[in-house]
C-alpha cells in the first residue's frame, strides 16, 4: 500500500490526496508536523527526503518526492483509463509538463504569500502576490479561450489531466495569502468543474462546490 508523508494544510500534499481519491487508490498517512514542529527538517525525515520538503510517498519501497513527479507516477501506474496522464500522446504529455512547471510557479508565488501571512515565513509578500496575479491572469485567459473552443480543462483533452490537479490547490487557497480571485472568472468556473469530478475531496480551506446550475 502507498504511504503518504502528509501535512493536512499543505496544498502540495493535497494534490496527491485529491488524485488518489479520484483514482480510488487507497493509502495510509504518516502525519508530519510541518508547523509548528518543522518535522520536515528533522533527521529522520531528511533521510527520506534530503530536500526537507513534503510530500513524499513510499509505494512498496519506491520512495518519491515532489508533488508533480508523484502525480506523474500515480497516474501512470494506477489510472486504468489512461486519461490523467496519457502516455501514448506526445503532444499532450508536452502540454501537461508545461503546466506542471506552471504549477510550481504557483507554489513559488501564491503558496509563498500564504506561508508569509499564516505561518510567518520571511518572504517578500508583495512580490509573491504580484507574481501570483501574473500567473493567474495567464491561466484565466488560457481557460477563457479554451471555453470558447469547448475545452473544459487546462490541457487539450476531453478529460482532466494531472495538470489540473497540480494547479488547483494553491489557486483555491490563494485568498489566505491576500490574493483574491474575483478578477479571474474563468479560473473560478474551472475550479467549480474540478470540484465536481467524482472522488473529489476537500481540505481545510477548500469548500465543496454547490450544485451545478441546469444548463
Amino acid at each position: 500500500m502507498i504511504t503518504l508523508y502528509d501535512y493536512e494544510l499543505s496544498g502540495n500534499c493535497y494534490k496527491l490526496r485529491l488524485l488518489m481519491g479520484m483514482l480510488g487508490v487507497e493509502w495510509k498517512t504518516v502525519p508530519v508536523d510541518f508547523y509548528p514542529g518543522r518535522e520536515h527538517k528533522s533527521d529522520w525525515f531528511l533521510k527520506i527526503n534530503p530536500l526537507g520538503q513534503l510530500p513524499v510517498i513510499d509505494d512498496d519501497g519506491l520512495i518519491l518526492r515532489d508533488a508533480q513527479a508523484i502525480l506523474v507516477y500515480l497516474a501512470s501506474k494506477y489510472d486504468a483509463s489512461g486519461t490523467w496522464y496519457p502516455r501514448d500522446n506526445p503532444a499532450l504529455l508536452g502540454e501537461i509538463s508545461q503546466w506542471l512547471a506552471f504549477a510550481d510557479g504557483i507554489t513559488g508565488t501564491a503558496s509563498a504569500a500564504r506561508l508569509h501571512d499564516a505561518l510567518f515565513y520571511d518572504f517578500d509578500v508583495e512580490a509573491a502576490r504580484a507574481g501570483a496575479h501574473r500567473l493567474f491572469r495567464i491561466l484565466d485567459e488560457h481557460l477563457w479561450f479554451g471555453e470558447q473552443e469547448g475545452r473544459n480543462w487546462i490541457c487539450s483533452a476531453a478529460q482532466p489531466t494531472i495538470a489540473d490537479i497540480a494547479c488547483f490547490p494553491y489557486i483555491m487557497l490563494s485568498e489566505e495569502g491576500g490574493i483574491p480571485r474575483q478578477d479571474y472568472p474563468a479560473i473560478r468556473r474551472w475550479c467549480d468543474r474540478l470540484k465536481r469530478i467524482k472522488g473529489f475531496a476537500v481540505m481545510s480551506g477548500v469548500f465543496p462546490a454547490g450544485p451545478a446550475k441546469a444548463a
Partner: protein, 301 residues
C-alpha cells in the same frame, strides 16, 4: 510613558499572548507585533523570559543575554505562552485550573496568522451553528443542525462570560472519539480576546477537554491565533492531536477572513442575531460595557 498606536486603555492594560514558550529558542531574539508595536522577546532556557520594544542594537535572530536587557515590558508565563502588556496589567491572568492537572496533554496546536479582528474570531469560536457546514463530519453533520437552547450569563465577580448547557451532536469530537456522540460544551470568555471551551472527553465521562484560543492582536484587523490544547488522550502522538485541531482551524480560517465588516459592530441593530447567537450578544454587550474600542465598531452614543 511611551506613546502607543493603540489608544484603547482597556486593551492596553490587558495581558496579551506573544508566543508558545516551547517554540522560542534560547538566547535568540524573536520579533513579533502587538497592537501595531514591534516587540522582541527571548528566553534563557531556564524559564526566564524578557519582552521589550524592538530596537536596533538587539536585532531579530541575533544573540541576546536577557539579564542585560534594560527597559523591559511586564512579562508573565501562563499556559505555556509568553504574555506581556503595553499598559498597567492586573496581577494575574484569568485562571484555567485544569491546566495544573498532571495527566493532561498540554500543547500549542499552532500559532496562525489570521486576517481577522480579534472580536470576530472570538465570536466564531463561540458559535455552534456553523459546525455541520464548516466542520462537516467532524464537529457536526446534517441533519443535526439545530443549536439547542443554552444558558449565558455575564459573571460579575469573575468578569467573564459563561455559556453553559450547550449540547451538539458531533461525528468526531476529538482524536479519541470512536464515533458520533452528543457532546456537552461550556464556553468562557474571561478576556476580550481570549476564550476557553470545555467539551466532553470521550476518554472520561466525568471530565472535560479544554481548548483555548488566545488572540494576539497584531492590529485591529489581524491576529496571531494561539491555540492551547489541554486534553485527555493517552493514545495519540502530539502531532496527531495538533493535526486534528489544525484541520478544524484551517476550515474556520476562510470564514473568519471573509467577515464583513472586519471589525465587530457593537451596536445591537448593526447585525441581526438569532437565538443561537445568545453568547455572541452577551459578548458584544460585555465589550460595550467595558468600553472596548479596538477591533470593534463601537455603538453610536
Amino acid at each position: 510613558m511611551t506613546e502607543t498606536r493603540c489608544k484603547d486603555q482597556v486593551i492596553l492594560d490587558l495581558w496579551h499572548p506573544l508566543a508558545a514558550l516551547s517554540e522560542v529558542p534560547a538566547g535568540v531574539v524573536v520579533g513579533t507585533i502587538l497592537l501595531e508595536e514591534r516587540l522582541s522577546l527571548a528566553c534563557d532556557g531556564t524559564g526566564k523570559v524578557a519582552v521589550w520594544r524592538s530596537r536596533r542594537d538587539l536585532p531579530v535572530d541575533g544573540p541576546v543575554d536577557i539579564s542585560a536587557v534594560a527597559g523591559t515590558l511586564p512579562v508573565k508565563l501562563a499556559y505555556g505562552y509568553v504574555w506581556t502588556s503595553l499598559g498597567n496589567p492586573p496581577a494575574d491572568i484569568f485562571p484555567i485550573p485544569e491546566y495544573a492537572e498532571a495527566d493532561r496533554r498540554k500543547l500549542n496546536a499552532a500559532t496562525f496568522g489570521v486576517n481577522v479582528s480579534a472580536p470576530r474570531a472570538i465570536e466564531n469560536f463561540l458559535d455552534m451553528g456553523h459546525f455541520p457546514y464548516v466542520h462537516t463530519d467532524i464537529l457536526g453533520a446534517e441533519p443535526h443542525t439545530e443549536v439547542k437552547e443554552y444558558d449565558v450569563e455575564i459573571s460579575v465577580d469573575r468578569d467573564e462570560i459563561l455559556a453553559t448547557r450547550c449540547r451538539f451532536f458531533q461525528p468526531m469530537a476529538s482524536t479519541t472519539s470512536d464515533g458520533g456522540a452528543d457532546v456537552d460544551y461550556i464556553y468562557r470568555v474571561p478576556h476580550p480576546y481570549c476564550s476557553v471551551l470545555y467539551k466532553s472527553s470521550p476518554m472520561d465521562e466525568t471530565r472535560l477537554d479544554v481548548i483555548a484560543v488566545f488572540l494576539q492582536p497584531v492590529d485591529q484587523e489581524h491576529v496571531r491565533a494561539h491555540m492551547l490544547l489541554c486534553v485527555l488522550d493517552e493514545d495519540n502522538e502530539d502531532k496527531v492531536i495538533k493535526r486534528f485541531q489544525q484541520t478544524i482551524f484551517g476550515q474556520d480560517k476562510p470564514i473568519l477572513e471573509n467577515q464583513f465588516p472586519k471589525r465587530l459592530p457593537l451596536d445591537p441593530r448593526a447585525e441581526t442575531p438569532i437565538r443561537a447567537d445568545k453568547s455572541a450578544i452577551a459578548y458584544r454587550r460585555w465589550l460595550s460595557q467595558k468600553g472596548v474600542t479596538y477591533g470593534v465598531i463601537p455603538a453610536a452614543t
